[in-house]
Symmetry: C2
Subunit: 615 residues, 2 copies
Amino acid sequence: MPVQTSLNIPALMNIATRLRIDSVRSTTEAASGHPSTCCSAAEIVAALFFAEMRYDAADPQNPENDRFVLSKGHAAPILYAAWAEAGFVKRDELLKLRRFDSDLEGHPTPRLPFVDVATGSLGQGLGAGVGIALNARRIASDYRTYVLLGDGESAEGSVWEAGDVASFHKLDSLCGITDMNALGQSGPTHLQHDVEALADRWRAFGWNAIAVDGHDLPALLEALDKARQTRGRPTMIVARTLKGKGVSVMEGKGGWHGKALKKGEELDSALAELQSQFVPEEGPAHRPEPPRPSRRPAPKEGTVGASIYRLGDSVATREAYGSAIARLAATDDRIVALDADVKNSTFSDKFEQQQPHRFYQNFIAEQAMIGAAMGLASRGAIPFPSTFAAFLTRAYDFIRMAAISNLNIKVAGSHAGVSIGEDGPSQMALEDLAMMRAQPNIAVLYPCDGVSTEKLVERMAYHPGPAYMRTSRPKTPVIYGPDETFTVGGLKVLRQSGADVTTVVGAGVTVFEALKAYDELKAQGIAIRVIDLYSLQPIDGETLRRCARETQGRVITVEDHYPGGGIGDAVASAIAVDGFTIKRLAVPEIPRSGSPEELLDRFGISARHIIAAVR
Amino acid sequence: MPVQTSLNIPALMNIATRLRIDSVRSTTEAASGHPSTCCSAAEIVAALFFAEMRYDAADPQNPENDRFVLSKGHAAPILYAAWAEAGFVKRDELLKLRRFDSDLEGHPTPRLPFVDVATGSLGQGLGAGVGIALNARRIASDYRTYVLLGDGESAEGSVWEAGDVASFHKLDSLCGITDMNALGQSGPTHLQHDVEALADRWRAFGWNAIAVDGHDLPALLEALDKARQTRGRPTMIVARTLKGKGVSVMEGKGGWHGKALKKGEELDSALAELQSQFVPEEGPAHRPEPPRPSRRPAPKEGTVGASIYRLGDSVATREAYGSAIARLAATDDRIVALDADVKNSTFSDKFEQQQPHRFYQNFIAEQAMIGAAMGLASRGAIPFPSTFAAFLTRAYDFIRMAAISNLNIKVAGSHAGVSIGEDGPSQMALEDLAMMRAQPNIAVLYPCDGVSTEKLVERMAYHPGPAYMRTSRPKTPVIYGPDETFTVGGLKVLRQSGADVTTVVGAGVTVFEALKAYDELKAQGIAIRVIDLYSLQPIDGETLRRCARETQGRVITVEDHYPGGGIGDAVASAIAVDGFTIKRLAVPEIPRSGSPEELLDRFGISARHIIAAVR
């Protein structure tokens, strides 16, 4: 084993001890945190950061650096300790752990330049790792991706979704290490220390799996070496460890999850014990050479190009979306697309046809899809993951964490609302606007026609941070000309006059119901104002307030969505400061199968109901 | 094989053919739907419904019936056809598939008495099956639970979460059958027809797994027989099938997902082909004896009993919750609790100590936890699944489907908001109210003290349909006396006078910030009204409107939640019809680690900010 013999094992052992000391010290200073879960991972982290990974410690964002994702995010203190050992974080700073004035938070976030994705919601790191490894292919870099998982979090299905996708894509640059310390938060894990049982699961999911003693540095290094040499599939190293290793009061014992040692005797004796574990070194640890500085061209924004639709054409916004991302991708190689086996419904297959190498299939695994998108976005790609909007609820925790990371993911959800018709409520998204709008930094877009869709696809791609586009199943007429402009945070006043008795605010399919109501009412001599609120968040509150003022303070909202958290709430929130009267039309109850027209009318959001509300 | 030889295989073959004919016919009549995925499952459904399962076809809700969950819900037409074959559904009714005036929806919902949980969002059926099987233990019934899965949906991590939990609980009354037809919606599945690869995954997850030809009835019956005789672990039958089997235009072919045959030549030739597959019968199929009619006592509501708190005590609502469910369970054996490895944080461990046999551990697998709760609720239990509120986002699709099913699940989320402090944003629920309130039939409760928590636990247990309780991490003072009453849909006006200049609405931890603001302002001669909005949905709009009127139309909301979809929106929605002015205080951006007090103040929801808003 040439790799191992050239390494200085005693130096690595001492690094592991220092990582333990820093983890114990910083959590005690914070009076909270997770020293026990840091101690189980000390040899793993020492081996990765100081013998295996190639990275520039002075430039954690170097695109050629090997990447590390701490999926078991509660072990944050040892991550911070490793970067202190590497020289990037000042050791003093470690004692500010979990303080408001420090970026060393309780769980890692990308406020820190060496963190790609926020973790702390367990089971998400491997999904991100898949995306980071896919990105290496995209940019033709040979960086490797390492993900440290806990055994407890391996109960999360998202871990197995990511495992399935990683083996499908033959991601041999991806290496997971499971710190199998056998103890969850509240008791022993299901598999406890049965490393072979866990390794068998990984093998069944198509991975190379290696079981080792996670406190045996030569064994760890040998396993990492084998992983690096394995082609055609990812490797999972299942490392048997003891929670709290090295500190006898907590080593292998229950009741020590998320518990800092007390200052005084408890801390002092733990530190003395750890100090006694230092061994004589035979010289410094031999770290791999850092990668060469990157010389990649600065990225440039692309364009969807001229509109392919004409006024009066009929096209579903989902189809316009698929076409737009394909055209945009032709002009910007950061644009990638991800699917969860519905590409022929979301029309992301148009992208696949044009850019097969930047199209990533995840099968029916929405968490894996969003997780991979998070990883891709963290490394500079601009990913468009899409599925039925209803099934994005499956990945809401991933979306929440993407928002916390402020990642550049551009999520699209199709088949929104009762207007999908016969498939019934399980396929209808009626809470997606609420779910997305609840995250304060997600831009929420909901175009009604082909032109606004393609223009907004371009805008959302280059809007900094996460964005969501809701598209519809039925075809709708193109109402905007090719030169119309759209902005994140904008709206369109489609009909207005000095005599308007009320403002009707719709978006997506209800824009057309509002226009129908306008025509019918106009024939009866009643004028209404009609707004296409294609951007729910940010929202153009100023124009909404002006329109409300100009229509005697009366506003009607109409949406193919449940009442809570959608357009009605967004508009109310924007104008309520001025005390206007709002009437809301929304789907008031759980719907059922039927034709789209039947359902729009039955659930109170058709032109007929708008007219009744105006009256 | 005594079981098989006593059965009339030709009769079962003919049933399978009739099921295909009905599936093809009904989808063509509806002009949409999934005949191809019905055809692959025809022998499996025939074997289950007409040779294996013990059930009273005239009484699908008989508690002793074997249960069937169609996890691949898009195969709904064959489920309806099976119940027509069994005599419960009129055959004519099948041709009303997907119509607004029929309960035979595009995907099954519990509007139908033979459907326990709505399916159609893939990957959920096995989780529900786990709960249904756990319920058999709870009521000491020997019914068995069968779940029919698709191979496509087996990419969903939730399937593996359920698999892990089922093997942990040694659920040998649970039998899954995977219809491995190798074709997803948009292309071949990852494992295609590799039945052994899929069977190996199930074995690695602790299951008995049997690979068979899914069109070979004797082989299917033998596998079902082996499953029934297997003790100590669940069985997965991996059945190799052809999508569209029996209809050559679609058999084994791509491009036929979710596509009905066209009326005329296409339908006619398919029907002729199927008709030609009938074989001579040797007498009727021998169905197992139905179970005896059930004689179980009618359930009776229990009680939490007298309050264990006194005014001025200090207790976290999460702890009061754990204590209350334990006391309630002592008086009603339908009450069960489920955990995802945080029982010592949510205090559901108090329940486990009292009722270990009705406490179900799911490890860190929130989808499995909610899925099992759905299954339990569908069979008469009243489940209280709980975890950190932030991690309920992981199970939002399950919660959505539970709402569609209107299931009696009582979800509790602890550690809400920035008031948890140092752990940082990944552990803070700041969108849970939006997420829950977006479902129109979920009762959303948010008590602020120990007494209101225990009373509302009792109310939510017996509130029909799904309910959610949000609890907090920090201790708060008990402000209600032991005789105070609380209702789903109520609120408490805590401070009021004729001179109030504004109404301040809080809930949970912000009630105490509002009370602090009241005291400080009172000292300065300013009176405000203070409301504890412990029920966000349903909401007492009448009282809110009255208070708004009495305080000059001015309302301030304050919440430990993001601005979208929470208390501000709920109050605005309730009072906006009268055009009042609302000022909202909420967490405006992604927060970070820090102490609870620091964070409440920094993110604008402390007493200081309320006072500024009043001024």
